[in-house]
Symmetry: C2
Subunit: 505 residues, 2 copies
């Protein structure tokens, strides 16, 4: 007989009843071959004594095992493991060393199907206490209107007629939000769109992914800048597309490069962050915007316009998106409330000709069915009441001051090490390192000074010639005092690096 | 000169400043070719008079246009549209009939890239006032603990240290929730999993989609039941997989069919809703569970176990999932809190060997970056405090009574029309229609009686031989009184249909 007392452990404090625990453990023993088909089980009295439980508990467990077809009673003979079950190779008894080894094996899958090496990426960690981070350019969550959101959300759920939004809803997203966004986008971005053109997504990333999957078949061509927003590149390659890189200069992506490519091969789509190119922060010029629209008509490609930070422009009024002057229905306009509200509030939108929006909605259904309709309703109300707009203006003012301080300090105190152009908008500065220094060294030295340089600085697979053309330094998430402190640490970093360089010379 | 007064309309009540409105409208005129390159613009004084605005407004607009490179000043000559802009074909002036026609054209995209016909699906509509719906088997949102969620959520956001969860967080999901779920799943489902094996998803659907994309390349084989949960089928075909259908009987999918298929071709994965097969509600028998695990080891396929309604089992204790006895690391276990909490609260999980979970997290990053970490944290706290478990037990009791009433009334009053087996769990009954009737007719007649039969009843492309084998009738979302009322309406429906049939005979 197998050592039931050793193998079966019952936890009387668990919220799972003891008889269910016993039943489940016997099932495990059957499944792993320790109790093969036709094995006789001990009588309930013996089992109860051995495990120190009431006999009724054992009887209940055996009843359960019978109901589930694991065991069978043979009249006058006793209780047996169901003889019709398949015989399996015996596995080690749980808790033994052999079992531990088997558990280790479980860490790697039996099916060697993993084939997505190109998806490599690091996970995000919250910065540790005392560390200041210059991030990729993300909003300051400390000013996010989250308490307002929680308040409106709670008021909405208090109304019983809003309960319907807890069920399955439209795959296009909440209608009130689509209506509010249509008005908001038409008003602020010069679009002339209708709610039916809008699909609510989870942040911009889902809009990019959906567009990629709908536009690109295996091996089809998409044009992106060199360098380009990495998560967009990953969406395109994941969808099977081939990246065609064009140069980016002070006026954005080179549309003459796009034209050259169009003459050579069939281009399905061009991806552009027209307002502030990621990572270099430059704005696509008026001339190139028109040229790109013209090319899209001529060569029949779609433009994926990712306008992720339209609302943050400090110098003049923001330039209207390409989508505002798209007469051919070629532009898919993607944006999100993540930068205005907070990255964690993942609500975005995709605006396109209705036929495309319809397809995107069907594709979205397959991915995650629908968004969080109560949150969407909450944001719709906040747009209608002007709260999002008020917050956006407030944030713009705060980030404007932060940009100015950041850039002036960076120039005054660190101009000998870094080259950069003050960005007209966005939340980060694209900083190039002068000759003789190396970003990896700078990052390592900065870490010693409790400064984390966490922004995008190019990937080997993202660039053609120069592997580390620059580094994004986000200014928006730091207060003015924190910016000063960060600059102190950066200065200390560069000074000690300079001394090292000199001592080697 | 073009009719500026007619074309340009300024809205003084808009939250966009008037000078920006003017600027943007001039840009539109340039972009659509009405103001070609080198066109002279009217002087600011004339423009101010014509549009009845202050001259400073016009000057500000012109400054803005200059800053954005749309216009240029030629000394002593005046202000001109930038001569370096490309010439575009003139488009109709907005507001005219020609413009309306052009707008119509915009409804259909210029790029004819839409190629996802297989994604066809209807959108969901909330039932209208006075209509009773027998749905596919969804929870009753009226008992959802949403006020509790809103309360906990609000308490969380009040703490300033929780603000970090508003920023970009882990692509695996909130760690507290992964930890709480590991304990919860180990306790309730007999798994032996760790937080590192768990990826938080948006509902089960995202787990299915991620698995499909990771496991299947174009044309690779996946086995599903006949019939099967439609949204899962769509995820598999969308990923490029080929569906191989096996028969489903009273004991779930036929694993001997799976074995026959494995002998014929390489099978990558088998999808199974082991606890209550969708749509037929049957439970996969103990024998077949073991057989399937054995086959998966022998032929090296992955098992995607979608255990979407594990918590709702009324007769005996729920059978432990396949994942609980998977020693080879072949099972990907998918579930969600959507059925326990509410479909609109889209938080689910994927549990798999770490290597697979890691890949799924990277893929998920490409799709929508991350989940709603504050909501995830909220649910983690509610699991830790036992609130989810308490709600789950309460709901189980309510649905148990609803199932019993629904099935007894359906048998007593409508047994002559319908065949069904009382389901052991889940939220719906799989109802077959007796000879001589047709689901389309029944649905149409029911609609006249304000009864919507909205459950799954098979699709032509979902089934091999019988296009309408049955219809799912959800009982969980109706109160006992509503169930009685629905049965009255269903009886009226069938009686009048019967009379029609007789009058034809």
């Amino acid at each position: 007989m197998i050592p039931y007392k050793t193998i079966i452990t019952l936890d009387r404090k668990s919220c799972t009843p003891v008889y269910i625990q016993l039943c489940n453990q016997v099932i495990q023993l059957i499944k792993c071959g320790i109790l093969p088909p036709s094995t006789k089980l001990p009588g309930s009295r013996w089992m109860a004594d051995t495990l120190q439980v009431h006999r009724k508990t054992v009887v209940a467990a055996y009843d359960e095992l019978m109901a589930q077809d694991w065991i069978e009673v043979r009249p006058a003979k006793g209780t047996f493991v169901n003889s019709s079950l398949p015989i399996v190779e015996q596995q080690p008894i749980p808790g033994t060393e052999a079992a531990e080894k088997a558990k280790m094996r479980k860490q790697s899958p039996g099916f060697a199907f993993i084939r997505r090496e190109h998806l490599n990426a690091r996970d995000t960690e919250f910065p540790k206490e005392g560390i200041l981070g210059l991030d990729d350019g993300v909003p300051d969550t400390r000013i996010a209107p989250i308490e307002e959101i929680a308040r409106v959300y709670r008021n909405i759920v208090k109304k019983s007629y809003n309960r319907k939004h807890l069920s399955y809803g439209s795959i296009y997203g909440n209608m009130e939000l689509r209506e509010a966004l249509a008005d908001y986008l038409n008003d602020t971005r010069g679009l002339s769109t209708e709610p039916e053109n809008i699909l609510i997504t989870r942040g911009s990333q889902m809009g990019i992914y959906l567009s990629a999957r709908l536009l690109l078949e295996q091996g089809e061509n998409i044009v992106v800048g060199e360098t380009n927003y990495r998560s967009a590149n990953k969406a395109f390659t994941e969808a099977g597309g081939t990246l065609n890189r064009v140069r980016v200069d002070a006026n954005g992506i080179r549309t003459d490069d796009v034209e050259t490519l169009c003459r050579k091969r069939k281009i399905r789509a061009v991806y552009v962050t027209s307002h502030h190119h990621h990572p270099t922060t430059v704005t696509l010029s008026a001339h190139r915007r028109m040229h790109l629209l013209e090319l899209s008509q001529k060569y029949g490609f779609a433009i994926i316009e990712d306008d992720y930070d339209y609302d943050f422009h400090y110098c003049n009024a923001p330039i209207l998106p390409l989508a505002s002057s798209d007469s051919g229905g070629n532009v898919i306009y993607i944006g999100a409330l993540c930068k205005i509200v907070a990255p964690g509030i993942r609500v975005g939108y995709l605006v396109a000709p209705k036929a495309f929006t319809d397809e995107a909605a069907l594709m979205r259904r397959v991915i995650d069915r629908q968004g969080d309709q109560l949150l969407e309703l909450t944001l719709a109300r906040m747009i209608r009441e002007g709260e999002i707009q008020r917050h956006s203006k407030k944030a713009l003012k705060i980030y404007h001051a932060r940009r100015d301080l950041f850039c002036s300090l960076l120039k005054e105190r660190l101009g000998e090490y870094f080259e950069f152009r003050k960005p007209e908008g966005g939340m980060a500065v694209w900083v190039k390192l002068r000759e003789g220094y190396d970003w990896d060294e700078v990052k390592a030295e900065a870490r010693k000074n409790k400064l984390k340089l966490g922004g995008y600085c190019g990937d080997e697979d993202d660039t053609i010639d120069n592997p580390y053309p620059g580094l994004r330094m986000g200014f928006a998430s730091l207060t003015l005092d924190e910016i000063k402190e960060a600059m102190d640490r950066l200065e200390t970093t560069m000074t000690s690096l300079e001394q090292k360089v000199k001592s080697y010379a």
